[in-house]
């Protein structure tokens, strides 16, 4: 190793971010499955449709973040630095799934409130 070789980012920003994406994606998938099971009795079998969409989206997030191309380089000295294109699509999908789960649970609680 010569001193000319660019140093890796000592803060491991991209690795930490990739791991944060993965654990959030997994939590979303598990959340979608759990919520489906628990709201099935209150809201009826129709929940399966939005739940399936949420689960597929969550699984897509996990697969996108596992591919790692998004994390090609996060250091200005590395050659692939200029080629990464990060944008708001995956964050938007994650927000949508989380919001949909929250709305599902809110509906579930309201139905129970009315019936109680």
């Amino acid at each position: 190793m010569s001193p000319d070789v660019p140093a890796r980012d000592p803060g491991l920003q991209q690795e930490r971010t990739a791991l944060a994406w993965r654990r959030t994606g997994l939590a979303l998938s598990v959340g979608a499955l759990l919520l489906t099971r628990l709201t099935l009795d209150t809201l009826g079998t129709a929940v399966v449709v939005p739940a399936a969409v949420a689960f597929v989206l969550a699984a897509w997030v996990v697969s996108v973040t596992l591919r790692g191309r998004r994390y090609a380089s996060a250091h200005p000295d590395e050659p692939s630095f200029d080629r990464i294109l990060r944008d708001g699509r995956v964050p938007a999908a994650v927000t949508l799934v989380a919001a949909a789960l929250a709305v599902g649970e809110l509906l579930n609680a309201l139905v129970q409130l009315v019936r109680a």
């Binding site: 294109l85 944008d87 708001g88």
Partner: protein, 123 residues
Amino acid sequence: MTSKRWPTAVYGTGREPDPRFSLANERTFLAWIRTSLALLAVAVAVDALSLGIGPRAQALLAAVLALTGLAAAGHAWRGWARTETAMREDRPLPGNAAGVVVVAGVALAGLVLVGASLLRGLS
């Protein structure tokens, strides 16, 4: 190259910040999403377990928690977009007013729980 990035409200202005800051912004976004999921998990747990405060108070408690979780998810996105835009335009970062909303939601949930328990104990 930048024109293909979505949303254009964020990427259409300013210039590219150090990507390490964008990555940190993403992790903050994800931390808010997990906060939202944690609040949801508590709401689901409240739904599934019997707390001895009556079904109505329990459903109300779950609704408050789910609503707070929804607010946290909304802020995750809004905060990410505002922070990214501010970094691109080299402006000061936006404040964290959404934290107050989550604190208020959790406090309200606590009040419902304590209030319902007290009412149960009195009757």
